[in-house]
Amino acid sequence: MELNQPKKSDSFGRKEGTDTKPTSNTEALGEKIREDVDGAEGKKNEEEQNQLEVVPDPHCDLENVSDCIDKFLSSLSTKKDDDDKENDVIPVDIPHELLEKFSDLVEAKLSKPEVDSSFLAAVSRLSKLTKWLRDLKPEESHPSLLINRIGGIHERAISFLEEEFRLLLEDSRIGESDEKGKQDHHVQTELSESIGDHEADFPGYSDDVVSSLNNVAKEMIFGGYESECCQVYAVARSNAFEESLQKLGFENHSIDDIHKMHWEALEREIAIWIEAFKKCTTVYFSGEKALAESVFSNHPSLSDSLFSNLTRGILIQLLNFVEAVAMTKQRSAEKLFKFLDMYETLRDVVPAMDLFKNECGNELKNEATTAQCRLGEAAILMFTDLENSIKADTGKTPVPGGAVHPLTRYTMNYLKYACEYKDTLEQVFREHSRLERADSTSRPSRDETKSFDDHNESEPQTPFSLQLMRVMELLDSNLETKAKIYKDVGLSNIFMMNNGRYILQKIKGSTEIHDLMGDTWSRKRSSDLRQYHKNYQRETWSKLVGCLSNEGLNVNGKVVRPVLKERFKSFNQMFDEIHKTQSTWVVSDEQLQSELRVSISAVVIPAYRSFLGRFSQYFHTGRQTEKYVKYQPEDIETSIDELFDGNPTPRRRP
C-alpha cells in the first residue's frame, strides 16, 4: 500500500497542534502577512520579500508553505470570531503569492501523487482555502483566476483521493490479497474454509486500511465531496457483499423460476438460503455496520444511511426468496420440515434486526415478519395436507394378516418427526392460523372454531394439539373403515389392535406427542385396545371353549359317548382351523403378541385340561384316545405360541 500510516498520524498531530495552540510563530507570520499585504502596493518589493522572507528558496518546500497557510487560515478564523462579535465585516486581503506558491507545490505533488499524511493535510488546506475564497464577496478584490486555479487543484486532489478510496475499498479486502496469485487462490480458500474462521469471512479490512479509509473519507467529505465518497463506498461494499453471497452459493432466482423448480433443486436452494441468511445476519450485517461506523466515524447519519441502503437491498432479496418458496404449492407433507427450518431461521433472526435503526429498520422488520407469516401459513397448509392424504387413502385391499397399515406407519412416523418441531409448530399454529382467519375476506369460519368446544378435557388444548387430535381422529375413522374390509371379525379386531398398539407405542416413544395428546387420550386409547382384545377373544375363542362345556354331555348322570366324541372331534377341527388361519395373522409387536398368546392360553388351556381330565377316561383303548384326544394341553400351548407369526405354511400335524 502506498499509504504511510505512522507518518500520517504524526502530521495530524502536528496539524492539530498548530491549529489549537498559537505559537510565537503566529505573530511572526502575522508580521509576514502584513508585509505581504504591504508589498501588494509595490510589486517588485513584494516579490523580493516573498523570495527572501516568506518562502526562502532552500526552504521553499510544502512543509514550510503549509505552515504559513495554516497560520493564515487560523488568523482568518480568529478574525471571523471577532467579526461575529462586532457584526462588522472587515475584508481580508488575499495573500496571492503565498497561495500561488502553495498551489505550485501541491500541483507538483499531484504530478506524482501519493496519498500520505502530507497529501491529506494539503487537501484539507485546499478545502479550507476554497471555502474561504468562495465565500468572498465578488466585489472584493475579485481573485477569480486564483479561485479557479485552487478550485481546479482541489478537484484534482480530491479526485485522486476518490480513486485511492476506491482502490482501498476494492483491493485491500481481507482475503483479497491472496487473489493476486490466482493459482494459489483455490488452495487458500480451502485452507481458510477448513480452519472455519468465521470472522475472517467478513470481507472487511485491516485496521490500518480502515483508518486510511476513515482519513480519506474525512477529507473528501470536508472538501464537499460527500456524494462521491458515499457513492464509491456504497458501490464497493455492495459488490463485496455480492461476492460473499456468491461464495455461499446464493443465487438470485426469479419467483417464476422458483415456482417451476423441482423439489430437489429447491431443497438445495433452501439449504443455501438458510446458510446465507444466517451468515448475513450474524456476520455480514454487523460487520457492515461496524465498518460503516468506523469509516464514517464523524458522520453517524451517513454511516447509518449507507448501512441501511446496502443491507435493505440484500435483506429484501433474501426475503423475496422466502416469499417465493412460501408461494410454491408443495402438495406433500414431507416438505414441511424444510419450510419449518426456514421459519425457525427467520424467527430467530428477527429480534437481531435491532441493528437497523429508524424507519428503514421498521420496514425491514415488517418485511421479515411478513415473510415469516407467509411461511407459517404455508406450513399450516402443508401440515393440514396430511389430513387430505389420510382422507384420500381409501384403498380396498386389506393388509394381509391384519398387520399395521402403511398409512398408520406413515402418519405416525410423520407426526413423530413433526413433533421434533413441536415448539415451532405450536407457534406456527398459534400465530398464523388465527391470523389467517382474522384477515381473510374469503374464508367464512366454518368448522374451525368448533373443535375448541369438542374437547372439554383437563389437558390444555393448543391449536396445534387440536390439529393433532384431528389428524388422529381422521386416522382412527379411516382405520375403522379399513377394518371392515376383513371378513373375519377376529382379524378385523387384530387389525385394530395392531394399528392401535402401533400408534400408542409411537406416542409413548415421543414425549412431545405424548405431552400434546395428554394422558387422558392415551388412557382412552389403551382401553380401546383392551376392548378390541376382548372382542377378538370372544369372537375367536369362546366358540371353541364352548366345545369344552359339560353341558349336554351328561344324561341322567351318564356321559353320552357319541356326544363326547363329537365334542372332541369338533374341538380338534376348530382348533386346527384356528391354528391354520391365525398363524398366518400378523402381530409384530412382541408384547402384544405374547399378551394375546397368554390370554388365549389362559382361557383355553385350563378349560381343555379340565375337560380332558374329566372325560379322557371314557375312551378305553389307546386307539380311541389317539383318535379323539388329538392334543395334550402342552400341544395346545405350543400351537397357541405359533399364532400371529404371519407364517403362511401351517405346521405338520399327525
Binding site: 483491493d171 456524494s227 455492495s238 432479496q317 420496514e363 381473510s440 374464508r443
Partner: protein, 388 residues
C-alpha cells in the same frame, strides 16, 4: 384519498348484501350490479389517471406512477371482493373460471417478478439522482471554475453511461469514466460485467427478461365472450388487463432488466367502457416508447429520467466547451438548467422511496390475494387441484 373511501363503502355493501341475500335469483341480480359497479369504478379511476396527465404530472412521472399504483391497489381490493366475498367456493372452481383463475394466478406470479425488477429499477433511478446531485453541487458553486466543471463532467458522463447501460445490452460500464485518473497496474479482478454501479441487490436472475415476462402475462389474455361476459370471467379479465397494463407501464418507465422487444401493444377491446382511458394511456405510452427506441435511448420513459437525460446532454456540451470564466449568457442558461436539475433531484428525493415502498405494497397485496384465491379454490374444488 377519494378512491379509498369509495372502496371501503363498496366492500361493506357487498358484504352486507351477500349476507342478506339467500335466494339464487336475487344473488344473480346483485352480482350483475356489483360487476357494473366494479367496471364503473375501474373506468373512473383510469379516467382520473388520464386527466391528471394534463395538469402538472405528465404520464410516467414519479407522481403519476404513484397514482397509477394507488389505482391498482383500489381496483385490486374491489376485484377481490367481487370475486371472493361471501361467495360459495364452488362457483370459482367451475368452468370457465377453473381455467381463468389459475391463469390469472400465473400472471400474478409473473407480476411479482416485475415488481421486484421495478423496485430494483427505482434503485437505479436513485443512482441517477445521486449523480445528478453531484452535478448540481458542482455547478451551484460560484464562480464556476475548471475544477467544478471537471467534477460535474465526470458525474455527467457516468450518468449518461448508466442511462445507456440500463438496457443490459451495452456492458461498457460507467466504470471507465468514473475511474478517470486511475493509475497503477489495473487489478486483475474480473469486472467485465458487474459494472461499478450495478450491485447484486438490484439485478434479477440471469436470463430474466422484463419484456418476455410482460409478453407471457398478456399471452392468453382474451376478453370473455357470449355468456361468459356477464359472469365472473369478466372481472378476472378486467383485473388481468389492469395488472398487465400497470406492470407494462412500470417496465416502460423504470429501467428493468432486458426490455428489448417490449410489447407496444396488447389487445384491449375498444368497445369496452371501462377500458377507454386505459387504451388512450396505452397508446400514448407506446408512442413514447417507439420514439425512444428509434433514438436508441432506453433508460426508461420515466419523465424525470428523460429530463435528466436532456439536461445532462446539454450540460455535457457546456462542460466540453467550457473555458474559464465562461460566457455570462451561457452561464445564465446553465444556472437555469442546474436549477431545473436540482428541482428534478428534489422530486426524486421525495418520490422515489415512496414509489419503491408502494411497489412493495403492490407486491405484498398481490401475494396475499393470491393466497386467498387459492384457499377458496382449494375449498371449492379439492378434486380439480390447481397446479399453481
Amino acid at each position: 384519498m377519494r378512491a379509498t373511501d369509495n372502496q371501503g363503502s363498496f366492500l361493506n355493501r357487498i358484504s352486507i348484501r351477500r349476507n342478506q341475500v339467500v335466494s339464487m335469483d336475487g344473488n344473480h341480480e346483485q352480482e350483475l350490479e356489483d360487476l357494473d359497479l366494479f367496471q364503473k369504478h375501474v373506468a373512473d379511476r383510469f379516467s382520473d389517471l388520464l386527466s391528471s396527465t394534463s395538469d402538472d404530472d405528465s404520464v410516467l412521472s414519479i407522481a403519476w406512477l404513484r397514482k397509477l399504483l394507488d389505482a391498482f391497489l383500489c381496483c385490486e381490493a374491489e376485484f377481490k371482493a367481487v370475486l371472493l366475498m361471501g361467495r360459495d367456493p364452488s362457483q370459482i372452481s367451475k368452468p370457465p373460471l377453473d381455467r381463468l383463475v389459475p391463469e390469472f394466478l400465473d400472471r400474478v406470479v409473473k407480476a411479482l417478478d416485475v415488481c421486484n425488477a421495478a423496485a430494483h429499477g427505482v434503485e437505479s433511478v436513485r443512482h441517477y439522482q445521486k449523480l445528478a446531485e453531484i452535478v448540481v453541487a458542482a455547478f451551484e458553486q460560484k464562480p464556476i471554475g475548471d475544477g467544478q466543471v471537471r467534477r460535474a463532467k465526470k458525474a455527467l458522463n457516468s450518468l449518461m453511461l448508466t442511462l445507456e447501460d440500463k438496457e443490459g445490452s451495452t456492458h461498457k460500464s460507467a466504470e471507465r469514466t468514473w475511474s478517470f485518473g486511475r493509475r497503477g497496474a489495473p487489478s486483475n479482478k474480473d469486472r467485465s460485467t458487474a459494472g461499478n454501479f450495478r450491485s447484486l441487490s438490484w439485478t434479477m436472475s440471469k436470463g430474466w427478461s422484463a419484456a418476455k415476462q410482460i409478453q407471457a402475462m398478456s399471452a392468453n389474455l382474451v376478453a370473455p365472450r357470449g355468456g361468459e361476459s356477464s359472469g365472473l370471467a369478466l372481472p378476472v379479465y378486467i383485473m388481468s388487463t389492469i395488472m398487465v397494463f400497470v406492470m407494462w407501464a412500470l417496465v416502460a418507465a423504470i429501467p428493468c432488466q432486458e426490455r428489448n422487444g417490449l410489447l407496444t401493444h396488447f389487445p384491449v377491446p375498444r368497445q369496452l367502457g371501462w377500458a377507454q382511458s386505459m387504451i388512450v394511456l396505452q397508446d400514448r405510452i407506446a408512442e413514447e416508447w417507439k420514439k425512444k427506441k428509434e433514438k436508441n435511448k432506453l433508460a426508461g420513459l420515466l419523465e424525470e429520467t428523460q429530463r435528466l437525460e436532456r439536461l445532462g446532454l446539454s450540460l455535457i456540451e457546456f462542460s466540453d466547451s467550457f473555458q474559464f470564466p465562461g460566457e455570462a449568457e451561457r452561464l445564465e442558461e446553465v444556472a437555469a438548467q442546474v436549477s431545473e436539475l436540482s428541482e428534478i433531484c428534489k422530486k426524486m428525493e421525495e418520490g422515489l422511496v415512496p414509489l419503491q415502498q408502494q411497489i412493495r405494497e403492490v407486491f405484498h397485496r398481490v401475494v396475499r390475494s393470491r393466497t386467498e384465491i387459492l384457499d377458496v379454490l382449494d375449498q371449492g374444488g379439492k378434486m380439480s387441484a390447481p397446479t399453481m
